[in-house]
Symmetry: C2
Subunit: 124 residues, 2 copies
């Protein structure tokens, strides 16, 4: 039975490629996803590399990722546990998550830096 | 020598994963990219599947794709020729373009429909 603590998640068949790509297109969200590659994490442990976001911003990013079907958020004591929906994403979009997570870029600060650079400028 | 007709394009080493993902995260832009898979096209031939966009909207999408390094735009008579920067993208982000273009979703109208659906609703 659904409770107030259960948040809505899209069914696997309802995942949309463009929505997943958008969810992954932000450096902070990409960093959050990278943090979940080796297993679920509590929200508090999901701050993106490179700096602590305000709680409201982190919550917004988590909501975007959840609504796109990239992560699942389940109650875990007083916290919430976030988990990468790897199986669902691999089934719907084969190779996508692997490509996004294993690009040589993925471990560099550039991937997690605020995406404020002007187009065409030299990456740090 | 650069002329007024040459538009700026990011160097391969300056491509940013999050910017590429953002460029691909729009159904119209994804459709434009799909149209370039088999070779370059003139701008006029690049209208996304599903409906004619106003010229200004199409230009905006093309600019977003160009600035992200997804496509190259070169003068071609009075027109411009658009080409997918497949080599650069494959070198920087191995497997990404293949995953995005060959997902079972890619050929469905859903991928090209305006991304106006509410999160979680059932895909058509």
């Amino acid at each position: 039975m659904a409770t107030a603590r259960d948040l809505p998640h899209p069914e696997p068949e309802d995942l949309r490629l463009t929505q997943v790509l958008f969810a992954l297109s932000d450096p902070a969200r990409l960093s959050i996803v990278q943090g979940l590659v080796h297993g679920p994490q509590e929200v508090a442990a999901c701050q993106p590399a490179g700096g602590d976001l305000p709680k409201s911003t982190l919550s917004h990013h988590i909501k975007t990722l959840r609504e796109a079907g990239v992560i699942r958020s389940t109650p875990h004591g007083r916290q919430r546990l976030l988990e990468l929906r790897r199986g669902d994403l691999d089934a719907r979009f084969p190779g996508l998550l692997t490509a996004v997570l294993t690009t040589p870029d993925a471990a560099t600060p550039d991937a997690a830096a605020p995406d404020a650079a002007a187009p065409g400028d030299v990456a740090p």
